[in-house]
């Protein structure tokens, strides 16, 4: 009898177990991709006890301003305490770097730059905690985007040519992009550009004959550069150094230097670049692709990648670049760079933008706010329990990526960002990002 009872109970447990295992995968299939963990479960809003006396400040890279502006506004809106001020992306990455390194009390609580601080280099740091510059700062990827090569060639604006371009966008090889920005290719109808764009043709009458010829005009290419210190320039030149090493030896953020009689206008930020390309005929420039998408009159060229395929910058191709990267680490440019990676759908000019903040936060509440905002910025929303602001709203910083022209950080990078944030401490060496704060 006992045996029978045990057997029955055993059977019942087994049946229950089987049913449960059948149900759980079904639930999992509909569950969101991100799970709220032990830190977020206590919610990422600012508590009264940890609120800063004034909104903390974030600024720098204009590359990331399209995603950070709405994301920070959302964070501020769902907080009842003081939290974070509007993002200031008017002056570029150098502004972000300098304003966190230039004074013992940084002018910005968190700076953003498209290239992180190194232990050696041109950055200055007015006081030293430990050795080296970068060792004083926590630096983490916050946004993933692509650098679009934008152009404005009025001769291509006819409806017939626009139809052709809709099928086959204007395509440039990496070498051509390098030569254009080095002013070694100076005309739009350069033989090599026409050869790359064989389908882009017009029929013209020469005498009695009708001949088909390259639709690109015999017009001077006006290169537009960002002002010195631009992180987008740094990301772009890192790419150029891989595809045109003769003209661009290494990555730097200096302006593109004039090598012919044609002047190179310089613009202060990404938005100004998009405006300038739109205003200047036969111009070419480079900007985070979200900016190009929202500016009418600015066209985006396809770039031939390392696998020989012409690709446009978009969410799929930029994500493909991030996925193709192996061994990402923060320590060196070679480990960080996503440029010119192999893969058919990889967009070749892609990179992360980084947040920079002091590892030792002398003002504890400012520090707590900074790490909470950054944790929010570097994750995607999803699962959660009703009643917690973020989980209820379901929106984290990376959820803004797709709608603003970026790609959400890969899961491995989200984890990396979390681990880096866990190194930020107060003056008593206490970790600021934890469940009780």
């Amino acid at each position: 009898m006992k045996k029978n009872l045990r057997g029955s109970i055993g059977m019942a447990v087994a049946v229950l177990g089987l049913s449960a295992s059948a149900v759980v995968p079904a639930l999992a299939a509909t569950a969101p991709t991100y799970t709220i963990d032990s830190i977020m479960v206590n919610d990422l809003t600012i508590k009264a006890a940890n609120a800063p006396t004034a909104d903390i400040t974030m600024g720098g890279s204009s590359f990331v301003s399209n995603i950070l502006t709405p994301a920070l506004a959302h964070y501020k809106a769902i907080n009842t305490e003081k939290s974070v001020a509007a993002y200031d992306g008017t002056q570029g990455s150098t502004n972000g770097r300098k304003k966190v390194t230039g004074a013992a009390t940084p002018a910005l609580n968190v700076g953003f730059s498209d290239f992180p601080l190194e232990n050696s280099g041109s950055d200055t740091f007015t006081y030293t905690v430990g050795s080296g510059l970068a060792s004083n700062f926590a630096q983490l990827p916050v946004a993933l985007g692509g650098v679009a090569i934008t152009y404005n060639v009025p001769a291509l604006n006819s409806s017939a040519l626009q139809k052709l371009l809709a099928k086959n966008p204007l395509t440039l090889t990496g070498a051509q992009v390098g030569k254009i920005f080095a002013q070694k290719i100076t005309k739009w109808n350069d033989a090599s550009i026409c050869a790359t764009n064989k389908t882009l043709t017009v029929k013209v009458k020469v005498g009695k004959k009708t001949v088909t010829q390259c639709a690109l005009p015999n017009e001077t290419i006006h290169v537009v550069s960002r002002t010195a210190g631009s992180g987008t320039t740094y990301m772009f030149k890192d790419y150029l150094s891989k595809v045109d090493a003769t003209d661009f030896a290494s990555a730097d953020s200096a302006v593109f230097a004039k090598t012919t009689g044609i002047d190179i206008p310089t613009v202060a930020n990404s938005a100004a670049m998009a405006t300038q390309i739109d205003a200047l005929d036969n111009s070419i420039g480079y900007v985070e692709y979200g900016f190009a998408a929202v500016t009418p009159g600015v066209n985006v060229a396809s770039i031939v990648n390392a696998s020989g395929v012409a690709v446009q910058p978009n969410a799929t191709t930029v994500a493909a670049a991030a996925a193709a990267k192996t061994g990402f680490a923060m320590d060196t440019l070679a480990h960080r760079s996503l440029n010119n990676l192999t893969g058919k759908s990889v967009y070749p000019i892609t990179g992360y933008s980084y947040a920079i903040l002091l590892k030792e936060q002398s003002n504890r509440n400012n520090g707590i706010t900074a790490v909470k905002v950054l944790d929010y910025l570097t994750h995607q929303g999803g699962a959660g329990t009703a009643g917690r602001p973020f989980t209820k709203a379901g929106t984290f910083g990376q959820d803004y990526a797709a709608v603003t022209g970026y790609v959400a950080l890969p899961k491995t990078i989200q984890t990396l960002a979390r681990n880096i944030l866990l190194t930020v401490k107060d003056s008593n060496n206490a970790v600021l990002l934890n469940a009780s704060n």
């Binding site: 002056q91 570029g92 150098t94 502004n95 300098k98 041109s122 200055t124 001077t220 006006h222 002002t227 010195a228 210190g229 200096a254 302006v255 004039k258 009689g261 044609i262 002047d263 190179i264 206008p265 310089t266 613009v267 202060a268 100004a272 405006t275 300038q276 739109d278 205003a279 200047l280 005929d281």
Partner: protein, 327 residues
């Protein structure tokens, strides 16, 4: 008389022994003393501020002079990133854009002031003068973006090709057309200084004695003759002051010029179509990047700009004061 003088001086010194024993008088005398001390402190603070301001700019600029030497004024190659400090192209850019601005703003501004003061009905006068003054409160960056996004396609497609064609490509209308650049910068600056020119020259026209105007009409002068042969000459110093004040504003304009000129700092302008930069726009653009002697070089630019702007404003004040005394 000598006795009066000694009494006055005693009072001013606050010595109460020789004056009336009235409490009211005592209070006034004490108040005078305090007022004098407050005034002296105010003056001293102002003097200290001015000395500190100029002193700090001069000290800041010393490394710049040391590293560039006389080449600062003779070289046209400015590249802060490469430690090349030749300010000639920037000084030229500043003067050229200001000159173009004046070519536009002086005739337009003076005509506007004349018509507002003499030709419009009183109610319309208030409306139009406040309309012009609205331009003065538009932020500089708005002018910059307006210049690049709205006006530069027009200069690129219409104005600059027209000028090049009509002049046959002769200087200063030769070379590559960009739309943005010195000509557009000058025109936008002209619009920006228009409110200053209009407001100050209108004040000068308002000070022209009515008897002069009426006398001229009485002698049978036409309206045009009254405006250009009587009112304008009578107010010429005030108008000159208006133009000089406008010039001061144009020389120091920063954000709009940083947006419109194209930021080319290593080329002495040879054409109105050229890209360029001004002293002020270069300081604004390079400052965030600068460290060490680069900051010093920017300090030198600041000193040059300050001297030019102060000189222009000083001349303007002198001219306006003389006009007021004459009338």
């Amino acid at each position: 008389m000598p006795m009066d003088q000694s009494t006055t001086s005693t009072n001013a010194a606050g010595d109460l022994s020789n004056v009336s024993s009235s409490p009211k008088f005592n209070l006034a005398a004490r108040g005078d003393g305090r007022y004098n001390i407050a005034m002296r402190i105010g003056q001293a603070l102002l003097a200290i501020f001015i000395i500190v301001f100029f002193g700090s700019i001069i000290i800041q600029s010393i490394p710049g002079w040391q590293s560039a030497g006389f080449g600062f004024f003779t070289s046209t190659d400015w590249s802060n990133a490469d430690f090349k400090f030749g300010a000639l192209s920037l000084i030229a850019g500043t003067l050229v854009t200001t000159f173009i601005a004046l070519l536009f703003a002086v005739p337009v501004g003076i005509s506007a002031a004349l018509s507002i003061q003499f030709l419009l009905h009183r109610r319309l006068r208030v409306f139009f003068s406040s309309l012009v003054e609205v331009l003065a409160i538009v932020p500089s960056i708005v002018f910059g973006v307006w210049g690049v996004a709205v006006i530069s396609p027009w200069t690129q497609h219409t104005l600059e090709p027209f000028l090049r064609d009509i002049s046959g490509g002769a200087p200063p209308f030769q070379g590559e057309i960009y739309g943005i650049g010195l000509l557009l910068g000058g025109l936008v600056l002209g619009v920006m200084i228009l409110p200053t020119v209009v407001a100050v020259s209108r004040d000068a026209f308002a000070m022209v004695p009515q008897t002069l105007i009426e006398g001229a009409y009485g002698l049978g002068a036409t309206r045009t003759q009254v405006l250009f042969r009587v009112a304008l000459p009578a107010a010429r110093r005030g108008v000159l002051g208006a133009v000089t004040l406008g010039t001061g504003r144009a020389l120091g304009e920063t954000v709009a010029m940083a947006t419109i000129l194209g930021g080319v700092t290593n080329k002495f302008p040879s054409s109105a179509f050229d890209l360029g930069a001004t002293l002020a726009s270069t300081i604004a653009r390079d400052f965030l990047e600068a460290t060490g002697s680069q900051v010093g070089a920017l300090g030198s630019l600041a000193l040059i700009l300050t001297v030019i702007v102060f000189a222009v404003n000083y001349i303007a004040r002198k001219i306006i004061t003389r006009q007021a005394v004459m009338l």
